[in-house]
């Protein structure tokens, strides 16, 4: 009996988390799945099961297809750019030069404030009109006319990637830096005794040992990228047209604003599956790569 009471007391500690998580995460997910097969509009109590119709509609809805392709483009573009910049940045910030700490702080700080606020600041720089800061610089230095940084489809997409990269590269450099600093100095000494030059040391010591950091960093970049919302929303409001609509923004638009619950729920489920697929794929591929180079 005493044992039973102790067991019960232990399990009670799990109760709050299970209650919150079941109510605010699992139940809504199951309901999303259920609603995705219905034509529920949020108002009328009566609704019908319409099978896979919502899932078919996803692919004929311009806003949704555009949001899926933009979100994937943004996610992979940002992940690539951040990785290409963060690794050399980490290697530089690992050196003991005079202004190292100032540079660390400057690159790292943008990862702390909200993305919405940062994107609004960049909105002044990238303003497509002549008085935009970047356009002023281009005019005065090179006599180039105003460029539509945020209003031409491809430029707008690239601009959102650049801003997101500026905001998060320092954070990922810190992550790589932690790994760099855990590499024993003996490795480099041994290599240089064996006659390896600096580039060979980077190629054969630093990169292989950074592989686990890359797995973590790329995973965070991909899952974070798929959930993108604030940066394009603040820079372009999703425009021009639906060109920079993120998946999140389109779920809010179709689901909450237009109360097309069935359609938006189908979109949510597809989104969930995309996140799941990319995460599983990425972790398996990167771990195999880690084993390959180590």
């Amino acid at each position: 009996m005493v044992k039973f009471v102790r067991q019960l007391q232990f399990q009670l500690f799990l109760l709050p988390i299970l209650a919150i998580y079941s109510l605010f995460t699992i139940y809504p997910l199951i309901k999303s799945f259920f609603l995705s097969f219905t034509n529920f509009d949020g108002y009328t109590e009566a609704y019908d099961f319409i099978g896979l119709k919502n899932y078919v509609r996803i692919f004929s809805d311009d806003a949704i297809t555009s949001a899926i392709s933009y979100t994937l483009f943004f996610t992979f573009g940002k992940a690539l750019l951040v990785t290409l910049l963060a690794i050399p940045l980490a290697m530089i910030l690992d050196q003991k030069f005079l202004t190292r700490n100032i540079h660390r702080a400057i690159f790292f700080f943008p990862s702390i404030p909200s993305g919405l606020l940062l994107a609004y600041i960049w909105g002044f720089i990238l303003a497509p009109i002549g008085s935009g800061v970047l356009n002023t610089v281009l005019r005065e230095l090179f006599n180039i006319g105003p460029q539509p940084w945020l209003s031409a489809p491809l430029l707008a997409k690239l601009s959102t990637i650049v801003v997101a990269t500026w905001a998060i590269t320092g954070w990922h450099a810190v992550l790589y830096l932690a790994f760099l600093q855990s590499i024993p100095k003996d490795y480099y000494e041994a290599a240089s005794i064996d006659g390896a030059n600096r580039l060979q040391q980077i190629r054969f010591i630093t990169f292989p040992l950074l592989a686990p950091a890359m797995t973590v960093s790329v995973m965070l970049l991909l899952t974070g990228g798929l959930k993108v919302f604030e940066i394009p929303f603040a820079l372009t409001k999703g425009g021009p047209g639906y060109e920079t609509y993120s998946i999140t923004q389109v779920i809010v638009l179709r689901g909450i604003s237009e109360t097309q619950y069935g359609l938006a729920s189908a979109m949510s489920i597809v989104f969930f599956l995309i996140v799941l697929a990319i995460a599983i794929f990425q972790v398996t591929v990167m771990q195999r790569r880690e084993q390959g180079i180590q």
Partner: protein, 275 residues
């Protein structure tokens, strides 16, 4: 170190200067424009003010409810983070110190939460919040944020495994209750991971935009981020005013950054190295 080596490092200072300036430029831009008039800012956005003015700062405090929003952000963040850390730490306790089939199942069940994006639950969540009358309530948002405890739970579980089992076992012999062991012995030992959890949850909740945008309507309940969003619509032409609001909002974040930088870096490193 040899002389040539030091010389090479000196080159890094020069090489990094332009990169640093570009990275810092957006902050320079907004700060410098808060001291200009609208016309001055429009004419030469990058130059130093032709005449330094400070009325933008006065005006922001007079015309916007920024203090109110600051207090709302503070209340929401503080309450949510405390609850998240407590719930997460509590849940880790039976999983680590009383492992059985039930706790293993609970752990797997919670693990699924990592893969479920907030967006995938958005539509039913919106209905649920409105059914429970939690929309446009500060405490409604706090309750919603409590689901962040799943992340903290896993941090805590990892850390708690490093606590020697003899500690709670000795306490049992001394007649300490299940709850007593947790609150008096285990929880105080969790300080380092609690600090990491608090920092990351604070940054998430303080900066969150989607949930406040969806679940808080009245302006008296705005968070700071929501206030920035609304101000963007109000001050479309008055760039200096909007920038001043932004700079004021950045002040507490900057202070947080200065105080916590070491802890944040440590948290990233620990999380990354463990995977």
């Amino acid at each position: 170190m040899t002389k040539t080596f030091k010389k090479r490092l000196w080159i890094l200072d020069i090489l990094m200067l332009p990169a640093g300036l570009i990275a810092f430029f957006p902050f320079y831009l907004i700060i410098v424009n808060t001291f200009k008039t609208m016309q001055d800012a429009a004419r030469s956005p990058m130059a130093l003010p032709s005449k330094w003015i400070f009325k933008n700062y006065v005006q922001v405090f007079e015309e916007t409810s920024i203090l109110r929003s600051f207090l709302n952000s503070l209340t929401i963040t503080a309450c949510s983070v405390v609850l998240i850390v407590l719930i997460g730490a509590m849940a880790a306790y039976p999983v680590v110190f009383n492992a059985n089939r039930l706790t293993r199942f609970a752990m797997l069940y919670l693990l699924a939460g990592f893969m479920i994006p907030f967006q995938a639950t958005l539509i039913p969540l919106f209905q649920l919040m409105s059914d429970l009358h939690l929309i446009d309530k500060i405490y409604g948002l706090i309750i919603l944020y409590m689901s962040g405890s799943v992340f903290v739970f896993f941090l805590m579980t990892g850390y708690m495994k490093s606590i020697p089992r003899e500690l709670p076992e000795a306490a049992v012999i001394d007649g300490c209750s299940v709850g007593g062991i947790f609150w008096r012995i285990i929880f105080p030992l969790l300080k380092p991971i609690t600090i990491t959890s608090i920092i990351f949850q604070t940054m998430w909740i303080w900066n969150d935009f989607l949930a406040p945008m969806l679940f808080l309507n009245s302006s008296s309940k705005s968070t700071l981020v929501l206030q920035i969003y609304k101000a963007k619509g109000e001050f479309t032409v008055d760039w200096p005013m909007f920038m001043t609001l932004t700079v004021i909002t950045l002040v507490p974040i900057f202070i947080f950054f200065i105080i916590m930088q070491k802890h944040i870096v440590k948290g990233i490193a620990a999380g990354a190295v463990k995977g």
